[in-house]
Symmetry: C2
Subunit: 149 residues, 2 copies
Protein backbone atom coordinates (compact mmCIF):
# COMPACT_ATOMS: atom_id res chain seq x y z
CA UNK A 1 0.00 0.00 0.00
CA UNK A 2 1.25 3.45 -0.88
CA UNK A 3 2.23 5.78 1.94
CA UNK A 4 0.70 9.23 2.13
CA UNK A 5 4.06 10.64 1.04
CA UNK A 6 4.07 8.43 -2.03
CA UNK A 7 0.52 9.36 -2.91
CA UNK A 8 1.27 13.05 -2.61
CA UNK A 9 4.52 12.81 -4.55
CA UNK A 10 2.83 10.86 -7.27
CA UNK A 11 0.10 13.45 -7.52
CA UNK A 12 2.61 16.30 -7.68
CA UNK A 13 4.69 14.56 -10.32
CA UNK A 14 1.65 13.85 -12.44
CA UNK A 15 0.86 17.56 -12.44
CA UNK A 16 4.50 18.62 -12.93
CA UNK A 17 4.52 20.21 -9.49
CA UNK A 18 7.34 20.17 -6.98
CA UNK A 19 7.78 18.50 -3.63
CA UNK A 20 9.10 21.37 -1.53
CA UNK A 21 10.09 21.37 2.12
CA UNK A 22 7.00 23.44 2.93
CA UNK A 23 4.72 20.85 1.37
CA UNK A 24 6.57 18.10 3.19
CA UNK A 25 6.21 19.89 6.51
CA UNK A 26 2.50 20.49 6.03
CA UNK A 27 1.87 16.91 4.97
CA UNK A 28 3.67 15.57 8.04
CA UNK A 29 1.96 17.89 10.44
CA UNK A 30 -1.50 17.27 9.04
CA UNK A 31 -1.19 13.54 9.50
CA UNK A 32 0.71 13.63 12.76
CA UNK A 33 -2.00 14.48 15.22
CA UNK A 34 -4.91 16.26 13.69
CA UNK A 35 -8.25 14.84 12.87
CA UNK A 36 -10.55 17.71 12.07
CA UNK A 37 -8.73 20.99 11.74
CA UNK A 38 -9.00 24.42 10.20
CA UNK A 39 -6.42 26.23 8.11
CA UNK A 40 -5.68 28.62 10.93
CA UNK A 41 -5.19 25.91 13.52
CA UNK A 42 -2.66 24.32 11.22
CA UNK A 43 -0.83 27.62 10.91
CA UNK A 44 -0.63 28.04 14.68
CA UNK A 45 0.43 24.45 15.09
CA UNK A 46 3.24 24.82 12.58
CA UNK A 47 4.41 28.02 14.26
CA UNK A 48 4.52 26.28 17.64
CA UNK A 49 6.83 23.77 16.04
CA UNK A 50 9.09 26.49 14.69
CA UNK A 51 8.00 26.18 11.12
CA UNK A 52 7.28 29.53 9.59
CA UNK A 53 5.07 28.79 6.65
CA UNK A 54 2.85 31.52 5.31
CA UNK A 55 -0.90 31.43 5.29
CA UNK A 56 -0.88 31.58 1.50
CA UNK A 57 1.23 28.45 1.26
CA UNK A 58 -0.96 26.63 3.74
CA UNK A 59 -4.07 27.36 1.72
CA UNK A 60 -2.33 26.44 -1.52
CA UNK A 61 -1.03 23.19 -0.09
CA UNK A 62 -4.32 22.18 1.51
CA UNK A 63 -5.95 22.56 -1.89
CA UNK A 64 -3.36 20.19 -3.35
CA UNK A 65 -3.85 17.67 -0.55
CA UNK A 66 -7.56 17.68 -1.25
CA UNK A 67 -6.99 17.20 -4.96
CA UNK A 68 -4.58 14.37 -4.34
CA UNK A 69 -7.29 12.60 -2.36
CA UNK A 70 -5.52 12.61 0.99
CA UNK A 71 -7.81 15.15 2.63
CA UNK A 72 -11.43 16.12 2.37
CA UNK A 73 -12.87 19.57 2.91
CA UNK A 74 -15.96 19.62 5.11
CA UNK A 75 -18.13 22.63 5.77
CA UNK A 76 -20.29 22.41 8.85
CA UNK A 77 -22.56 25.35 8.20
CA UNK A 78 -19.98 27.90 9.19
CA UNK A 79 -18.35 30.05 6.58
CA UNK A 80 -14.90 28.52 6.83
CA UNK A 81 -13.60 25.11 5.89
CA UNK A 82 -12.62 22.20 8.07
CA UNK A 83 -10.38 19.45 6.79
CA UNK A 84 -10.29 15.79 7.66
CA UNK A 85 -8.21 12.77 6.74
CA UNK A 86 -9.30 10.57 3.91
CA UNK A 87 -6.06 8.57 3.88
CA UNK A 88 -6.26 5.84 6.49
CA UNK A 89 -9.88 6.48 7.41
CA UNK A 90 -13.09 4.80 6.46
CA UNK A 91 -15.78 7.10 5.08
CA UNK A 92 -17.83 8.55 7.90
CA UNK A 93 -20.43 11.20 8.55
CA UNK A 94 -21.02 13.67 11.37
CA UNK A 95 -23.24 14.56 14.27
CA UNK A 96 -22.83 18.25 15.04
CA UNK A 97 -23.94 19.67 18.38
CA UNK A 98 -25.74 22.97 17.93
CA UNK A 99 -24.85 24.06 21.42
CA UNK A 100 -21.19 23.24 22.04
CA UNK A 101 -20.08 22.55 18.49
CA UNK A 102 -18.82 19.08 19.30
CA UNK A 103 -18.48 16.80 16.28
CA UNK A 104 -19.09 13.07 16.60
CA UNK A 105 -18.16 10.79 13.72
CA UNK A 106 -20.11 7.72 12.73
CA UNK A 107 -19.99 5.10 10.01
CA UNK A 108 -23.20 3.77 8.54
CA UNK A 109 -22.91 1.59 5.47
CA UNK A 110 -26.61 1.57 4.75
CA UNK A 111 -26.30 5.16 3.62
CA UNK A 112 -24.36 3.97 0.61
CA UNK A 113 -27.24 1.73 -0.38
CA UNK A 114 -29.73 4.55 -0.12
CA UNK A 115 -27.36 6.69 -2.14
CA UNK A 116 -27.24 4.10 -4.91
CA UNK A 117 -31.01 3.90 -5.10
CA UNK A 118 -31.54 7.63 -5.10
CA UNK A 119 -28.95 8.02 -7.81
CA UNK A 120 -30.49 5.35 -9.98
CA UNK A 121 -33.88 7.05 -9.75
CA UNK A 122 -32.40 10.42 -10.65
CA UNK A 123 -29.90 9.22 -13.26
CA UNK A 124 -27.13 10.69 -11.21
CA UNK A 125 -23.59 9.34 -10.83
CA UNK A 126 -22.39 9.82 -7.27
CA UNK A 127 -18.82 10.11 -6.22
CA UNK A 128 -19.34 11.04 -2.57
CA UNK A 129 -21.82 12.17 -0.01
CA UNK A 130 -21.98 14.16 3.19
CA UNK A 131 -24.53 13.55 5.86
CA UNK A 132 -24.65 15.89 8.77
CA UNK A 133 -27.06 15.49 11.63
CA UNK A 134 -27.59 18.51 13.83
CA UNK A 135 -28.95 18.50 17.32
CA UNK A 136 -27.70 18.26 20.89
CA UNK A 137 -25.03 15.98 22.30
CA UNK A 138 -25.65 14.11 25.53
CA UNK A 139 -24.07 16.76 27.77
CA UNK A 140 -25.87 19.67 26.20
CA UNK A 141 -29.15 17.81 26.18
CA UNK A 142 -28.87 17.20 29.91
CA UNK A 143 -28.05 20.82 30.61
CA UNK A 144 -30.93 21.91 28.42
CA UNK A 145 -33.21 19.51 30.24
CA UNK A 146 -32.34 21.00 33.59
CA UNK A 147 -32.76 24.53 32.27
CA UNK A 148 -36.22 23.75 30.94
CA UNK A 149 -37.39 21.58 33.83
Amino acid sequence: MLSKDDIFKEYLTSKKLKFTSERQAILNRVFENHKHFEADELLVDLRLNDMKISKATIYRTLALLVKSGLLREVIFGERHAHYEHVYGHEHHDHLVCNNCGKIIEFTEHRIEKLQDEVCRKNKFTADSHRLQIQGLCEDCWEKNDKAVG
Copy 2:
Protein backbone atom coordinates in the same frame (compact mmCIF):
# COMPACT_ATOMS: atom_id res chain seq x y z
CA MET B 1 -53.32 26.27 8.69
CA LEU B 2 -51.37 29.44 9.28
CA SER B 3 -50.18 31.42 6.26
CA LYS B 4 -46.53 32.32 5.93
CA ASP B 5 -47.47 35.90 6.78
CA ASP B 6 -49.15 34.80 9.97
CA ILE B 7 -46.23 32.64 10.95
CA PHE B 8 -43.78 35.46 10.40
CA LYS B 9 -45.94 38.03 12.21
CA GLU B 10 -46.39 35.69 15.11
CA TYR B 11 -42.66 35.13 15.32
CA LEU B 12 -41.96 38.86 15.21
CA THR B 13 -44.55 39.65 17.84
CA SER B 14 -43.22 36.97 20.14
CA LYS B 15 -39.80 38.61 19.97
CA LYS B 16 -41.17 42.16 20.20
CA LEU B 17 -39.99 42.90 16.68
CA LYS B 18 -41.83 44.90 14.04
CA PHE B 19 -43.47 43.98 10.78
CA THR B 20 -42.05 46.63 8.45
CA SER B 21 -42.74 47.15 4.77
CA GLU B 22 -39.22 45.92 3.98
CA ARG B 23 -39.84 42.66 5.81
CA GLN B 24 -43.19 42.29 4.09
CA ALA B 25 -41.61 42.85 0.65
CA ILE B 26 -38.85 40.34 1.27
CA LEU B 27 -41.27 37.73 2.59
CA ASN B 28 -43.50 38.10 -0.49
CA ARG B 29 -40.65 37.98 -2.92
CA VAL B 30 -38.98 34.98 -1.34
CA PHE B 31 -42.14 32.90 -1.58
CA GLU B 32 -43.30 34.23 -4.90
CA ASN B 33 -41.03 32.44 -7.31
CA HIS B 34 -37.77 31.33 -5.77
CA LYS B 35 -36.84 27.90 -4.71
CA HIS B 36 -33.14 27.92 -3.97
CA PHE B 37 -31.69 31.38 -3.94
CA GLU B 38 -28.79 33.38 -2.60
CA ALA B 39 -28.89 36.68 -0.74
CA ASP B 40 -27.50 38.52 -3.71
CA GLU B 41 -30.01 37.06 -6.16
CA LEU B 42 -32.77 38.24 -3.90
CA LEU B 43 -31.29 41.74 -3.86
CA VAL B 44 -31.16 41.87 -7.66
CA ASP B 45 -34.63 40.46 -7.90
CA LEU B 46 -36.03 43.09 -5.56
CA ARG B 47 -34.25 45.85 -7.47
CA LEU B 48 -35.76 44.62 -10.75
CA ASN B 49 -39.12 45.04 -9.10
CA ASP B 50 -38.35 48.59 -8.03
CA MET B 51 -37.83 47.78 -4.40
CA LYS B 52 -34.71 49.37 -3.04
CA ILE B 53 -33.90 47.40 0.04
CA SER B 54 -30.34 47.41 1.31
CA LYS B 55 -28.11 44.42 1.51
CA ALA B 56 -27.93 44.80 5.28
CA THR B 57 -31.69 44.57 5.63
CA ILE B 58 -31.82 41.55 3.37
CA TYR B 59 -29.31 39.69 5.48
CA ARG B 60 -31.03 40.75 8.68
CA THR B 61 -34.43 39.68 7.38
CA LEU B 62 -33.24 36.35 6.00
CA ALA B 63 -31.86 35.54 9.43
CA LEU B 64 -35.28 36.23 10.92
CA LEU B 65 -37.03 34.11 8.31
CA VAL B 66 -34.72 31.24 9.17
CA LYS B 67 -35.36 31.66 12.88
CA SER B 68 -39.11 31.79 12.32
CA GLY B 69 -38.87 28.43 10.59
CA LEU B 70 -40.02 29.57 7.16
CA LEU B 71 -36.64 29.20 5.48
CA ARG B 72 -33.63 26.98 5.83
CA GLU B 73 -30.04 27.91 5.16
CA VAL B 74 -28.12 25.36 3.10
CA ILE B 75 -24.42 25.47 2.36
CA PHE B 76 -23.34 23.41 -0.62
CA GLY B 77 -19.61 23.54 -0.08
CA GLU B 78 -19.24 27.01 -1.44
CA ARG B 79 -18.48 29.88 0.87
CA HIS B 80 -21.86 31.55 0.63
CA ALA B 81 -25.30 30.49 1.79
CA HIS B 82 -28.28 29.31 -0.21
CA TYR B 83 -31.76 29.51 1.18
CA GLU B 84 -34.71 27.27 0.54
CA HIS B 85 -38.37 27.10 1.55
CA VAL B 86 -39.36 25.10 4.57
CA TYR B 87 -42.91 26.44 4.59
CA GLY B 88 -44.97 24.38 2.17
CA HIS B 89 -42.24 21.85 1.42
CA GLU B 90 -41.54 18.38 2.68
CA HIS B 91 -38.04 17.80 4.02
CA HIS B 92 -35.72 16.84 1.22
CA ASP B 93 -32.05 16.40 0.47
CA HIS B 94 -29.85 17.26 -2.49
CA LEU B 95 -27.87 15.85 -5.37
CA VAL B 96 -25.26 18.40 -6.42
CA CYS B 97 -23.59 18.18 -9.83
CA ASN B 98 -19.86 18.83 -9.57
CA ASN B 99 -19.70 19.94 -13.15
CA CYS B 100 -22.64 22.24 -13.86
CA GLY B 101 -23.76 22.95 -10.30
CA LYS B 102 -27.28 21.72 -10.89
CA ILE B 103 -29.15 20.80 -7.73
CA ILE B 104 -31.71 18.00 -7.74
CA GLU B 105 -33.96 17.54 -4.74
CA PHE B 106 -35.10 14.18 -3.44
CA THR B 107 -37.10 12.86 -0.53
CA GLU B 108 -36.11 9.64 1.19
CA HIS B 109 -37.86 8.76 4.39
CA ARG B 110 -35.56 5.91 5.26
CA ILE B 111 -32.91 8.46 6.10
CA GLU B 112 -34.93 9.46 9.13
CA LYS B 113 -34.86 5.90 10.38
CA LEU B 114 -31.10 5.69 10.00
CA GLN B 115 -30.84 9.02 11.76
CA ASP B 116 -32.82 7.72 14.71
CA GLU B 117 -30.62 4.67 15.04
CA VAL B 118 -27.38 6.56 14.77
CA CYS B 119 -28.59 9.05 17.36
CA ARG B 120 -29.62 6.35 19.78
CA LYS B 121 -26.19 4.74 19.52
CA ASN B 122 -24.45 8.05 20.12
CA LYS B 123 -26.84 9.44 22.72
CA PHE B 124 -27.51 12.37 20.47
CA THR B 125 -30.78 14.26 20.06
CA ALA B 126 -31.29 15.24 16.45
CA ASP B 127 -33.33 18.12 15.24
CA SER B 128 -32.43 18.03 11.57
CA HIS B 129 -30.10 16.59 9.01
CA ARG B 130 -28.58 17.44 5.67
CA LEU B 131 -27.55 14.86 3.15
CA GLN B 132 -25.75 16.00 0.08
CA ILE B 133 -24.67 13.65 -2.66
CA GLN B 134 -22.04 14.94 -5.05
CA GLY B 135 -21.33 13.61 -8.49
CA LEU B 136 -22.43 14.16 -12.06
CA CYS B 137 -25.93 14.72 -13.40
CA GLU B 138 -27.10 12.84 -16.46
CA ASP B 139 -26.11 15.52 -18.97
CA CYS B 140 -22.66 16.05 -17.54
CA TRP B 141 -22.07 12.33 -17.25
CA GLU B 142 -22.83 11.88 -20.94
CA LYS B 143 -20.55 14.73 -21.94
CA ASN B 144 -17.83 13.32 -19.73
CA ASP B 145 -18.33 9.91 -21.27
CA LYS B 146 -17.82 11.24 -24.77
CA ALA B 147 -14.76 13.22 -23.71
CA VAL B 148 -13.15 10.14 -22.21
CA GLY B 149 -14.20 7.66 -24.85
